[in-house]
Symmetry: C2
Subunit: 420 residues, 2 copies
């Protein structure tokens, strides 16, 4: 605990791609900080990028009632705005660090909480290192967040369960939609799911499989080299047996030589500021090939940003765990941790039990956790029962939206829009 002096302030930021659960972590941070007696809880707008421009809010102006907190837990996307900003190495630009720390000192910051994924944990790593070098007493702790579930040392990540639930639900509905097709009209449906390097979300499409649904006919993860010809042959064979063939593919699938399928369609590939390729068009490309090669009707569906924003279909488990991670990050920092990230540890799978722990952010930042090969079938085109046993508890439970005029209400404070 911060002892021997009055507790001062906490600052919290959100970074990277938004999720349906990232604001629940923010709610957890706020509630825990207030409970622990901190004076102000500031929210940096657009993460450290905004903070460098002195852009922040006092969250007490936005979270006045318990109902506001409940709305925040049900609001998708990053309430504080997000950034994809890579801090320079300390030696390369110490002036920037001096500026950032002087802003933090100005705000009488005791604790700095950053909710984000692998890239964001790199920010926590650098800032906590700088604090050690300069003797700053500010503590830096990360709270995990990503729909991609690709962070190491944690059982899974907040945001993943809700995206997985949305994907499983929507794939099941799309499969059912296909069942209604006219007589003797074969169709191949290709569904594209997010996940640049790790196939966790694409694999979650198999959760649609159950007593009332066969699930996708095949599932292609980025971890397994993809072969367009094999894919087409598979479709052709399946069409002999089924009226509607459903193939789920990750946006990140690539051939054995590393060529992204999405690149085959669109030669202009975009690259974001982290150097990540912007992938899209994989399903469209494959459905075009299949239409030509198999002479059948095809449909390409991209879940696009819907899969990370669908708070109306969130997993209660996920929303509650996100809240718990946010709260745990404040508690850890309050108790003296810095340069750490909260992780989840599965102590039991049946019944499903999770506890939080804290790990060194130096070991987490910039790493990627892939779907283990043994959780993919031998043919490399489906996930195993072990994979499903791992994912299934994460989509359990619903968190009913608070609806106004028939659609979910999100947290909105007058003027909020202009802040971002």
């Amino acid at each position: 605990m911060v002892t021997g002096k009055t507790k001062r302030n906490v600052i919290v930021g959100q970074a990277g791609g938004p999720t349906a659960a990232v604001n629940s972590s923010l709610a957890g941070v706020y509630h825990a900080a207030k409970n622990l007696g901190y004076s102000h809880v500031y929210g940096m707008l657009h993460g450290v990028q905004g903070l460098l421009e002195n852009r922040y809010i006092d969250l007490a102006d936005h979270l006045k009632t318990g109902l506001d907190l409940e709305l925040l837990k049900r609001t998708p996307s990053a309430y504080l705005g997000s950034c994809r900003y890579t801090l320079p190495e300390i030696n390369d630009d110490s002036a920037l660090y001096e500026k950032l720390f002087s802003i933090l000192d100005e705000l009488e910051t005791d604790l700095f909480i950053y909710i984000g994924g692998n890239d964001s944990m790199d920010t926590v790593r650098k800032l906590s290192d700088y604090a050690i070098i300069t003797g700053s007493q500010i503590r830096f702790v990360g709270s995990p967040k990503t729909i991609d579930n690709d962070m190491i040392l944690t059982d899974h990540t907040p945001g993943f369960g809700s995206a997985a639930k949305y994907i499983a639900t929507s794939v099941k509905e799309a499969i059912r939609d296909g069942w209604s097709l006219e007589l003797s009209k074969g169709q191949v449906l290709v569904i594209e799911i997010m996940g640049r390097d790790a196939g966790w979300l694409t694999g979650a499409s198999a959760l649609s499989r159950g007593e009332d649904c066969d699930g996708p006919d095949a599932i292609y993860l980025p971890e397994i080299p993809f072969d367009v010809e094999e894919f087409t042959t598979r479709c052709r064979n399946l069409l002999k047996k089924k009226n509607c063939v459903v193939m789920c593919v990750s946006e990140g699938i690539r051939t054995a030589d590393g060529t992204y399928i999405s690149e085959m369609e669109n030669k202009e590939s975009f690259t974001d500021v982290y150097g990540h390729r912007q992938l899209t068009g994989t399903a469209r490309y494959l459905s075009g090939i299949v239409a030509r090669e198999c002479g059948c009707k095809t449909r390409a569906i991209e879940f696009s940003s819907l899969q990370r924003a669908a708070a109306h279909c969130a997993s209660r488990t996920d929303i509650e765990e996100a809240y718990e991670c946010g709260a745990a990050s404040v508690k850890a920092a309050d108790e003296g941790d810095s340069g750490k990230m909260v992780v989840m540890v599965r102590t039991s799978n049946d019944p499903y039990k999770i506890t939080t722990d804290i790990k060194d952010v130096h070991k987490i930042a910039n790493e990627v956790r892939y779907v283990p090969r043994e959780w993919v079938n031998e043919a490399g085109d489906n996930v195993t029962e072990d994979f499903l046993r791992y994912v299934r508890p994460l989509i359990m439970g619903d968190i009913d939206p608070i609806t106004v005029d028939g659609i979910p209400r999100h947290l909105y404070v007058p003027g909020y829009h202009d802040l971002l």
Copy 2:
């Protein structure tokens, strides 16, 4: 009422594009037929097309309990399978009609109920005409169904409300997702919504507008000629004021000379068996143009079949009205109507009250109901408050999915899959 003899059997079919509510109408048909004392309720598989091949089921084998009926109401897509089959004119192929009626006689059919849209009502028209010509006592009544809401003489159509609710919810979530964007990163999001000729669904995206959301920045319906250059200019101007610009476009938008925007991208346009063009790629095309002309990041989202299959986000009002229409179609036929379709009449908007009536199918079949010009703003790029007052009651209320393992359960009877 069918009097003077024992009531025999009812046969019901589903045709055209599936919806989230079409099975609720089927449940209404089944329940009403059983309540009115009919012996068997047969379901034709894949509409009249399957019936011509003697493909049908006895619904009592599938609907054994009240829970089965509840599941059916929550199951998207056409449970019986669908068809897009145009009956020939009677004079062109009377042998086909003879065959169909002999199958109906074999099944001791008193009532024939067809759940479908404009094209399907053409089937009801032809069959009821043939019955009059030949003196058949079978009565033919339609129950309306289409997400497109483009049928005349009815206040609205079952299936529309649920699709509208899904679209409003998803547009709102996508807009919120855009708010989290990095600092000073303008983006244009182009969302493509179903509706070949009528803009009801695209207009429903404006329901996302409220105290907590601005809604789309502009909405383009197929009723209003579309100008690509004006669209690009609009995006450019909006980008000066907003970080994330959101444009909702119908898949059916076309230029003043009638060229579909989707054709501009993809010269190979597909045509379905009714002669309808298969439209897709409108958002993709426009987002590509905007990226090039405005030099900004863009994202194209197609709701695709998700918008007609999203039973997890259905409107309770819609599901209940669909059920009521199904039941009313049986009652009308039982009372002697034939060559008619059930319609909904709004007797009051506040509080919202609906009653059913019955109209001549000859006046409905093959007509299209457009969004009235006065419900679109003068600039032609948004809907008016009158439009919203009309649509809002239709998305009210939720019908909670019955979930198993974290996702909605649909009605499934062993072997069902092989039937289709």
